[in-house]
Symmetry: D2
Subunit: 494 residues, 4 copies
Amino acid sequence: MQEPRRFPLASPFESPDGDKLREECGLFGIYGAGDAANFVALGLHALQHRGQEAGGIVTHDESRGFNVVKKLGYVRDNFTSAETMEQLPGRSGIGHVRYSTTGSKGHTTLRDVQPFHGDLAVGGVAIAHNGNLTNALQIKRELIERGSLFHTTSDTEAVLHLMARSFHRTIPERLKDALRRVEGAFSFLALTSDGLIGVRDPLGVRPLVLGRIGDAWILASETCALDIVGAEFIRDVLPGEMVTIDDTGLRSTMPFEPQRPRFCIFEHVYFSRPDSVIGGASVYESRRRIGVELAREAPVEADLVCAVPDSGTPAAIGYSQESGIPFAMGIIRNQYVGRTFIEPTEQIRNMGVRLKLNVNRAIIRGKRVVLVDDSVVRGTTSMKIKDMILDAGAREVHFRIASPPTAWPCFYGVDTPDKDKLLASSMSEEEMRDHIGVDSLRFVSLDGLYRAVGEETGRDPERPQYCDACFSGEYPVQPSDMIEMGRISLKAAE
Amino acid sequence: MQEPRRFPLASPFESPDGDKLREECGLFGIYGAGDAANFVALGLHALQHRGQEAGGIVTHDESRGFNVVKKLGYVRDNFTSAETMEQLPGRSGIGHVRYSTTGSKGHTTLRDVQPFHGDLAVGGVAIAHNGNLTNALQIKRELIERGSLFHTTSDTEAVLHLMARSFHRTIPERLKDALRRVEGAFSFLALTSDGLIGVRDPLGVRPLVLGRIGDAWILASETCALDIVGAEFIRDVLPGEMVTIDDTGLRSTMPFEPQRPRFCIFEHVYFSRPDSVIGGASVYESRRRIGVELAREAPVEADLVCAVPDSGTPAAIGYSQESGIPFAMGIIRNQYVGRTFIEPTEQIRNMGVRLKLNVNRAIIRGKRVVLVDDSVVRGTTSMKIKDMILDAGAREVHFRIASPPTAWPCFYGVDTPDKDKLLASSMSEEEMRDHIGVDSLRFVSLDGLYRAVGEETGRDPERPQYCDACFSGEYPVQPSDMIEMGRISLKAAE
Amino acid sequence: MQEPRRFPLASPFESPDGDKLREECGLFGIYGAGDAANFVALGLHALQHRGQEAGGIVTHDESRGFNVVKKLGYVRDNFTSAETMEQLPGRSGIGHVRYSTTGSKGHTTLRDVQPFHGDLAVGGVAIAHNGNLTNALQIKRELIERGSLFHTTSDTEAVLHLMARSFHRTIPERLKDALRRVEGAFSFLALTSDGLIGVRDPLGVRPLVLGRIGDAWILASETCALDIVGAEFIRDVLPGEMVTIDDTGLRSTMPFEPQRPRFCIFEHVYFSRPDSVIGGASVYESRRRIGVELAREAPVEADLVCAVPDSGTPAAIGYSQESGIPFAMGIIRNQYVGRTFIEPTEQIRNMGVRLKLNVNRAIIRGKRVVLVDDSVVRGTTSMKIKDMILDAGAREVHFRIASPPTAWPCFYGVDTPDKDKLLASSMSEEEMRDHIGVDSLRFVSLDGLYRAVGEETGRDPERPQYCDACFSGEYPVQPSDMIEMGRISLKAAE
Amino acid sequence: MQEPRRFPLASPFESPDGDKLREECGLFGIYGAGDAANFVALGLHALQHRGQEAGGIVTHDESRGFNVVKKLGYVRDNFTSAETMEQLPGRSGIGHVRYSTTGSKGHTTLRDVQPFHGDLAVGGVAIAHNGNLTNALQIKRELIERGSLFHTTSDTEAVLHLMARSFHRTIPERLKDALRRVEGAFSFLALTSDGLIGVRDPLGVRPLVLGRIGDAWILASETCALDIVGAEFIRDVLPGEMVTIDDTGLRSTMPFEPQRPRFCIFEHVYFSRPDSVIGGASVYESRRRIGVELAREAPVEADLVCAVPDSGTPAAIGYSQESGIPFAMGIIRNQYVGRTFIEPTEQIRNMGVRLKLNVNRAIIRGKRVVLVDDSVVRGTTSMKIKDMILDAGAREVHFRIASPPTAWPCFYGVDTPDKDKLLASSMSEEEMRDHIGVDSLRFVSLDGLYRAVGEETGRDPERPQYCDACFSGEYPVQPSDMIEMGRISLKAAE
């Protein structure tokens, strides 16, 4: 099916050239509220940083059944008109924003946009998913062999087919049945004609929180989506937990074999919004404390502490507070960033960064500047920013990075470049410093990061408290499809 | 002519409910560069904060003559496609972004979008204008009486008609002739088949700067528009100066009777971008110093200094630095703001502010908070933010405002509400504090503001160094049309 | 999934208020031509009269695999841009235009637009269908029970699922397997990675012809689609025949039990284009001969013979030629018909017919007029036209209808109103004459119709040569789903 | 101003490759009816054949003043939505459809779309124009010299500027004043705040008729526009007459020096709709009689008379009736014509004609065919149609043309190619026959044409009753601008 071509706007949270790891989905579901679709739209709007390419909402209404609207682009542009929202009646609904994990990467088409809806023999269901199933290809191959017709390129559809073929007679049981067949990291929402279901994988890699407003229950990826609708935060859905909500209330079951949780530590570093609370901790405060740890681990004499906006700001504030070096807005973001401008002449080409960021020349000139950024992926952005800062007359540039070196790809629902594109996979800290060309470059240590997120004794190397595979190469779930395709050789195998 | 209905996106620089004064135009012109239109588009993009409703570009090409493209909406959406830019060939061009001053207010139509182009007996010309002509209605009436046909509702068109009827034989002379007939505050750009002209009114109320890149000259409203294209800042165009640029170079003339300059002080407070330099001073630094002045004039015991993002941030940093109270991101902006969501239920209605701003509840709870904002216009935003902060559990809320009370409307190209809508026109500081309902509310003094922008001895009451009519009610140019229409009674007349 | 709302334009072939039976699909496939998609688009354009709501094209390209574009609206608007056609590379392709038979009637959504594509364990396939499966609901129910997920509301998808679950190892065998399970009237096209397949149901109710251009083979609903691309007409695909085309050439098999053919006689009356040739006979000539038969069976004294344009014209010419009464363009069509105009006042309301048709008042006034139309369905159009003609001053109006009374609904891929909406189901010819209010009303006899299409001895009542269920109530295939749903009581049962 | 690119649909009335003279405007105005805009839209829809590129409507409403909507494309697409029509309140209105005469030919932009509205010192006015002013460039030059700013490239705007500068105090007087300054052929409508005005030039070259519905008056280009709204035809506006309609009724004045009328004879041949009545004569009947004349002047032995649809049909019927040779639909139009399809391969290229026309092969094969067309302009279409007919197996092809050879361009509001592109300007009838390659080619004589339109003794060579400059080269009004530009050498000058 052909969709109008849309160039997804770059995320204002991301750095200028997309040189970031990207969380790839946000979820929001509600049960028991009039105008459920409006709540879902607002919640997805608050979660837009988790996926900007497309969004979808499914509601259920007693008289009209399931209603589906999917669109490429931003929630604010797609789910605000009366015309659209009237197509989504009902007291319950789920929604999804996505970048793209599996599926046609970088080229989202409407049919790959979640939630997916299907009519099973036991009734209709819509499902939406944040994460990645690491054995989806194997399951899909088997299902096609048996006569299932796939309509998308998404791994999520395999779960719907498994549910369609399950012998159980209720949708929650069929969902459990299906999820016990898959591996990977996932938070799932399912909407039925009389209920709402939320599930987290046994390790709890991806987040999912529970909220309440009036008599309605909400499930969302982050607490900031509760705040926007004025809902009360109740608790995190637990790793391995399935919550089932219907008119009789909320029930909790634990369908999987128990495992030690391994929440994604990068949610603290970059993915989540700074006004969200994860596992009882303020994301903003965690990031500020990473800055404090950095200032202790890697102090430097300087005149100003500046952030690479906006994601580096909390750590920059922490660094300034711990070091006593004044914080200043040395780099200003243009708030009207959008798709790339045409750049037909040599003169204009390669100025991409200035479209989004501008150095505050008047206050940088002649200064020794500490620049705090959240992470280094390919290193391309760091080099451009260094150039801008030096071009503006800075005397010294000291990069401080609020995460350890990112040396391994993620297979759990995060868009990462191939391993050989990750700067830290082949260079030491010193080599990266020379490559980027700055006076100093320091990353926070893995232990420092663990301390900042509240593990006072740092990382437990025997039983790490988080999933930190992107830093450590220790993958808590085997990436089966990738191994089969020969796309990855694991550390363990080296 | 009918245009497709477009809902202009709210400016991310503005506070949530539009409770701000609004600068209403941005200008950019270039002479002597290949692909002039690309430079203009980039420059307008950097000036988007000065006008978000619409934008237009006119270029001149030897073989194709004048080329015009005007569109409603953002530069990034309208002037980036190859299809559009190919319609704008040429080595010289001017562009304009606008909100709306005169003309069909709040309902911009394409025909009111500048630049305006016309064929005079002495050749073609395109003009664009930042400011407001205070006697435009009188002139327009007279021109119609003599048989001129107006095609827009803009005051700028009157200048074009005056030029069409001038007896002078060159366009620069006709422009001088026309501008000597008008009153008000203005910076004008004019593009001819062989040159580019820039003019500032005798008081220099509105800004205009001169830059250079390679062999090309640039005229722009702010220096940030020079930065984005990598141009060098040369100097401000002087109050009352006309610069004429052609293949022979740049000439400067002073066509008006000399007056003492009265630059708009609100450009420092809010309109200009923090990375621009005005009159040799960094806007960011001026704002930070306002925060320092505020901390001196209005200290308070508190736990945190927070900004109402984003315009209050520099002053909040200054307040924190001067007071020693830690700065924190207590309010987080949603980067994906857009047009208003539908809010059909009582439950959702009135939550407008949360769409754009969210309180960082985890760090605000139980704290005494100093909230720094740039200005108070109607006071509606201040009340909503106060509610949000208290709702998040703040113990005390102390508002500190980085400008004096705004008590008078502007007639020089800034969108202000009627006088009786301005909170400060009828209330004292204490009354405003009680009305808004905060523990304390303090504005920086007019002298403090003057000190922050570099006038060390403060305001000279006899010969004020700036136009500060919005604070003082002292209007340097008589708003003739408004008086004739009975829309304003001046302080002098009281 | 949400599609932009489109109001399908009314067919210029249909009479003003849609008071016609409507053929519901057109098919075109080609194998072995560069730019296959362009041929398909042209062929579908020529078949647009068979379906105006939507169209789809699927091509197969060796390097890019299957390519799918589907759109609501006309072929001329949707499949002409370079941008679209570049998305459809390949040397083979099939296309479909549809009104809507089953599926969401009157509310076509993109996901219901054919061709449908699926990946089977034995390879990819796309299918398109003209006709209607009379036991589709029963099959769909069974498939869902076994775990198939349906993504459309179309009966055609059931065939794809049957193919997905077939145990045969080639797509042609799986298609045969599936089609042996279904009942109804159908012509099917299937595109595989290395071939093109065409099938007609055993009765041959719906048409399908074979053509050739250069080395490429074409399958299309009508010969006019061969003419438009300059292809040579080879022969009709036979009732019950499957033709399989690949690089080795064309093979023919007869997978079904043989039956006596029962081609749809209404294709001659109205559905097919007058420049098509069916079963060796010119459609135009058949229609002209119906007029001749009518003039013999129902002569009348009159001054002019006029057609209800455009479908009544050939029969009107025949009537004129046989009767000697001059033919004249008494009713003129507006060539720019489109969607309905707003008609907010009593004055304007109910003038719908005049938007499309206007009486040529100057030549009608005072005349006795024979008005020839192709059929009477609800009778609403006939009444409006009679009013127009009398209003223009005609002295007498004699309706002559080029088909027998339409008294029974069709279940074989034609959109008909419910039986009780058919005027002829409850009225005699005389009652209809009085109801419509004309001086005389006569239908051609069923035998006359058979003679006109070449059966010289008329209809064989024991073994009718055509499907004429809409006139006779004798249904050659049991409409099982309809009977199960209680939506129809058959003549046999009366 | 930039407009979205639109490819104007080809007119279904025109022959396949645009090889026709084109009437360039249609007018409709109404005074005194609620929902005036709906009447105007319907009337313009009926006049769409007079201009397909764009349309505009201006209404006047007491409370909202003048309302303007202009769009590129068809009336049916642009003036039917409630959203649009609500922008056009009022009890009076005028509208215009245009192809393009002067102005940016072939590239209509919105600002050139009429009606044009302006605020004069004596009140607002909107004007619309069918025809062409032959001295517009001279007047425009003079107006610019005096300081008028032109906003369009249309000759009509000059009239508005002349009105703006007139010393008269009423709009009707100013319109007379302006029209006395211009030369050419024109029918004008003007809408004021309290009236509607219609004027025809002294020769009455272009049509304008007066109608009445209820208490409302209508002015329109043709009677078919009265029929569509159910209005009564009152009379033709007379050559040189100005009718002024307001709440006191209708007044008629004759502002110009009287001249003998010279109505455009081509309106009978092709421009007007066959259901319109011109000067008391049915257009259909005139065309049928041209066929009768042709059969008398140029008989031939043949089997069938066919029309080049649709404009040749009435003459073909006349030819058949006079000659006794049967009329048949030998060429069928595709009703879904639209913009050109992509034709990337040699195979598909040059098949343009078949997209719109298809030969009814089954009835043409082996026949001697008389083909009746309305005119020959460049001859390109005639050659393509001849090819199609021969390709279908016709034994002989005899072209009969229902107008004399078109040898001279029109300067009175009709789009004609340059003289050297007109086949008849350089070839005799025999040469054209050989060039086109048919068995015979005959044009009706100029006298025959005059007889068919009711001049029983044919053309009066001393005082021709019609403007027939395109056939005779005798121009009743001097084309001054063309002569000045050296674009034309007149017959008189030869």
